[in-house]
């Protein structure tokens, strides 16, 4: 049975909104997803009935809040199949998760001359923290190149891994949509003793991700892209590694004892959770995981695959439009494209007049765009609530935009 898209759409209040009289067609899911009422209601109910700060209170609502927060961690642990809940650290998002590793693991383990290996299709959030680390430590950044189809070229991988202490790459590209051959890279990295961080921001919301099966050392993702609220994200890390790492932020909750001149640290995962956490957000995220789990990631992936296949077929019809990236079968549910003679902003503006939300810009992958000789592209990205009919509307609007600017 395919995904019951019409029923699903009823769960997302925003999808009944009209823009300039047109129904909202939300195709910017790679930037952030909309939220089902289950998630919104879970947070509202929490604030209305059980809100309190966690861990420290011995009264009823504080214990309820603590239980909810820690059970969100359990949910995430099961969702990515981690071995222990101590391996799940709550952060503000993918970006903070990666920065945490670059600081806490990186500052301790990276030395002058060491190689840090990224790919040419990384999001800025998986480039800049490593640039800053490389600068602090005089380490060297290298990049696995991509080919003209937006696929990683692994020919020289062994050479690139030489002297490499950590490689950080995305499971799925937010610009090309490419699903990267993570297992192959991880196997080679393992052989060289190189650690692996996976940027799973575009993967966890859309497909089954199993950290044991992948055998990665760290995995970072964001709640807001997987139907959950803003303000919370996740870092998975192998326990042995997390245990040896120094804390990232200092403050309340991450300590065991504080004295005038020094402190000792709390156990995992709290060692990395300084200060009051995103409590209501954890409650919302838990509801999001339930929602996704209930529908099944496999079905969601199949649905998105059928949407991207259909979208790419139909985009071929639009005159002067060029798509970037691999064939549909090698993608998650997104496609980026451009017109040689119309700026992406203008395309997006015309689409917006028709109620259609797409992204126009560099999608936080400037180096990728630069390599393609482009400033910006238009990106349409799909999720479980998107329907084929919405792609038809997209195509119509793109044709209209082309007509308008060429008239």
């Amino acid at each position: 049975m395919p995904l019951p898209v019409e029923t699903i759409r009823q769960d997302f209040p925003i999808l009944s909104r009209k823009i300039n009289g047109y129904p909202l067609v939300y195709l910017d899911n790679a930037a952030s997803s909309q939220k089902p009422k289950h998630v919104i209601m879970a947070m509202t109910a929490f604030y209305q009935a059980s809100y309190a700060n966690i861990h420290r209170g011995v009264y009823t609502i504080a214990e309820e809040a603590t239980e909810l927060y820690e059970s969100a961690r359990e949910h995430i642990k099961n969702f990515v199949n981690a071995r222990a809940s101590q391996e799940i650290i709550f952060t503000r998002g993918t970006t903070e998760s990666i920065n945490l590793v670059a600081r806490s693991w990186g500052d301790k383990n990276i030395q002058a001359g060491d190689v840090i290996l990224l790919t040419e299709m990384e999001h800025h959030s998986n480039i800049v923290p490593w640039q800053l680390l490389a600068e602090r430590k005089k380490a060297r950044l290298k990049y696995i190149p991509f080919d003209e189809k937006g696929r990683l070229n692994l020919e020289n991988l062994d050479r690139l891994l030489e002297g490499c202490k950590i490689t950080a790459f995305t499971l799925a590209s937010n610009t090309f949509g490419t699903k990267n051959p993570a297992k192959e890279i991880i196997r080679k990295a393992r052989a060289k003793g190189t650690l692996v961080l996976l940027d799973a921001a575009q993967a966890v919301p859309h497909q089954n991700v199993d950290v044991v099966d992948l055998d990665c050392d760290f995995l970072a993702f964001s709640s807001h892209k997987m139907l959950g609220p803003t303000g919370i994200g996740i870092l998975y890390g192998k326990k042995e590694l997390l245990e040896k790492m120094d804390p990232f932020l200092g403050g309340g909750e991450m300590i065991k004892t504080v004295q005038w001149d020094h402190s000792t640290w709390n156990d995992l995962p709290w060692k990395f959770e300084a200060g009051t956490q995103s409590i209501a957000e954890a409650v919302g995220l838990k509801a999001a995981v339930d929602y996704l789990h209930h529908l099944g990631l496999k079905k969601i992936a199949e649905h998105e695959q059928s949407l991207v296949r259909y979208a790419m077929e139909r985009l071929h019809e639009v005159e002067g439009l060029t798509m970037i990236g691999p064939p549909a079968s090698e993608r998650v549910g997104l496609v980026s494209f451009y017109f040689k003679d119309i700026h992406p902003h203008d395309v997006a503006a015309v689409l917006d007049r028709n109620g259609i939300c797409v992204r126009a810009g560099h999608h936080c992958t400037m180096p990728l765009h630069k390599k393609l000789g482009l400033e910006a592209t238009v990106r349409a990205s799909f999720y479980l609530y998107n329907a084929k009919e919405e792609i038809d509307l997209l195509i119509d609007a793109l044709k209209e935009a082309a007509r308008f600017f060429r008239k």
Binding site: H345, A349, R353, G361, H362, M366, E375, A376, F404
Partner: protein
């Protein structure tokens, strides 16, 4: 469509005024919009504290290109003092558009570039 892309905007976009480069400009200034990769350079030739010649080069959307073209028209023959008085408000009136915060940045990049050139301040605040 009409509200966003008035005929005049489209005209400026398709047939920009003052596009080009000045060989030895008295003032030249360049900046980018990090959010969308727009780029803008404005060259000025000044004589007796007055704009003698103006050229620009801009990559970007219709709004940003048209705004730059219109801005260069607005300051032709103006004195530097007069230019300093041109603000957001004046440029947006000329454009005659209602813009959200993101596209506002597209429209205002040229003003930022012009101001930072005229005042000689590298990073003019938006």
């Amino acid at each position: 469509m009409d509200a966003l892309y008035r005929e005049e905007i489209l005209e400026h976009y398709k047939y920009p005024k003052n596009r080009g480069k000045i060989e030895k400009p008295d003032i030249t200034s360049f900046d980018t919009n990090p959010l969308c990769g727009d780029e803008c350079r404005i060259d000025l030739k000044i004589e007796g504290n007055r704009v003698k010649e103006i050229k620009f080069d801009a990559k970007g959307c219709a709004i940003s290109q048209a705004a730059t073209s219109m801005l260069t028209e607005m300051i032709e023959d103006k004195s530097l003092e007069e230019i300093k008085k041109i603000g957001k408000k004046e440029l947006l009136e000329e454009l005659g558009l209602e813009l959200g915060p993101v596209r506002l940045k597209c429209a205002l990049l040229c003003l930022k570039v012009l101001k930072s050139g005229v005042y000689g301040i590298k990073d003019w605040p938006t």
